[in-house]
């Protein structure tokens, strides 16, 4: 799904400060995120069918792709008249962020580590039995776990320090979101096919609004804001002249404006987030995506 739902209220609710009542807080925070994602899912399903795409398009995408931002992006390109290739490219670029997420949560995506099990087995004296199980079903669990790597499940996992809690947070959030997302998209498809003139309800304005809400927390740093601003100007300026889909991809050229000048020196020193990034791996980018400032 997408960088979300990292909107204000949710991000605040999900802040790590609350160490007491951690379990129930986690459940509550996951529920809040599910609620927000549910709304986005309804909006996705409704906008897609309102744009005269087949009902199965949003449904299949939500099941198979399961990444809200890229689903919106791909459908947005197609609805603007772009080619499927441009739509796939836009969605794929957006999903590259899942690559660092995968590294960040690698330890909880698969079955418990052999080392952990060995330690447990030695303690209980049941070495052989414990070892045999995870090896056989391990790939299946890992394959399933990979599909539920999202902004949200990663963010929740990284907020937990204890390995067991990390695992519980990742799987709890990931599976809950998968169910909620697909059900809500289906509801949106139903709602969208009932309403005739969706423009009269301003539904077309919800799509860009969702995208902005998604992107805002990631704009904490000046570098990113400059890149995004330049990219937006490029995309809008090229829209009248280029085939649909290409202007948005051309916006990536905006990255150059944010990256070339002084990316190592001043900014890193000035921003605590940037300073953390310097030493940290994938974790810090997720912080920026989940709205921590």
């Amino acid at each position: 799904m997408s960088p979300l739902w990292r909107t204000a209220g949710l991000a605040r609710a999900a802040e790590p400060g609350s160490t007491s009542r951690r379990g129930s807080t986690l459940v509550r925070d996951v529920a809040l995120v599910c609620l927000a994602d549910g709304l986005v899912g309804v909006s996705f399903g409704a906008t897609t069918v309102a744009g005269h795409l087949h009902w199965w398009v949003p449904v299949a995408m939500s099941l198979l792709v399961f990444a809200g931002g890229s689903q919106f992006a791909a459908v947005g390109v197609v609805l603007a008249g772009g080619s499927p290739v441009a739509a796939v490219a836009a969605g794929a670029v957006l999903n590259t962020r899942l690559l660092p997420y995968g590294f960040a949560v690698a330890d909880v995506v698969g079955p418990p580590e052999r080392a952990d099990l060995d330690a447990g087995a030695q303690a209980s004296g049941a070495e052989v039995q414990v070892r045999a199980r995870p090896v056989r079903s391990g790939w299946l669990i890992r394959a399933l776990g990979a599909q539920v790597i999202t902004d949200e499940s990663t963010a929740f996992a990284l907020r937990q320090t204890d390995p067991a809690r990390r695992r519980a947070a990742f799987w709890g959030c990931g599976l809950a979101l998968f169910v909620v997302w697909n059900v809500s998209v289906l509801l949106g498809v139903l709602a969208g096919s009932l309403v005739r003139n969706t423009n009269a309800f301003g539904l077309d304005a919800t799509f860009p609004a969702v995208l902005i809400a998604l992107a805002l927390p990631a704009l904490a740093e000046r570098r990113t804001r400059v890149s995004a601003g330049t990219g937006a100007v490029i995309a809008v300026a090229l829209t009248p002249v280029l085939p649909a889909g290409l202007p948005v991809l051309a916006a990536l050229a905006g990255l150059v404006t944010g990256w070339r000048p002084r990316r190592r020196t001043t900014e890193r020193a000035a921003s605590p987030l940037a300073a953390r990034r310097a030493g940290n791996r994938a974790d810090s980018s997720i912080d920026s995506l989940t709205g921590e400032r």
């Binding site: 605040r12 603007a80 739509a87 690559l99 997420y101 077309d204 995309a235 980018s285």
Partner: protein, 102 residues
């Protein structure tokens, strides 16, 4: 949107997800690459928001939609809860259209 496009996007997306869990302990990702991915995602989202707010096909979309999106953006920047942001976008745009603004 053909099914093939959806399947290809799904396959690409899944491979992005799978690389980390499969290659842990063997490969690490450069911090610079991570930051670049995050920035690229933000740039794409904002560019897509801008074009879908302002343009309809190759032409200007009219004032009602960008006005609704602008209000939503301001609310989001003020950390207003997500449902309010989305509803505000739709309401402002719908009301403007009701009032005769395209």
């Amino acid at each position: 949107m053909p099914l093939l496009a959806i399947v290809v996007l799904a396959a690409i997306t899944y491979s992005f997800r799978l690389v980390g869990p499969l290659s842990r302990d063997r490969v690490t990702l450069a911090p610079a690459a991570t930051v670049l991915f995050a920035d690229a995602a933000a740039v794409l989202l904002i560019a897509l928001a801008a074009t879908s707010a302002l343009m309809n096909g190759h032409d200007f979309a009219g004032w009602a939609r960008p006005a609704g999106v602008l209000v939503a953006g301001l609310l989001a920047a003020r950390r207003v809860p997500f449902p309010v942001v989305v509803l505000a976008a739709a309401c402002v745009t719908a009301l403007l259209r009701l009032g005769g603004v395209a």
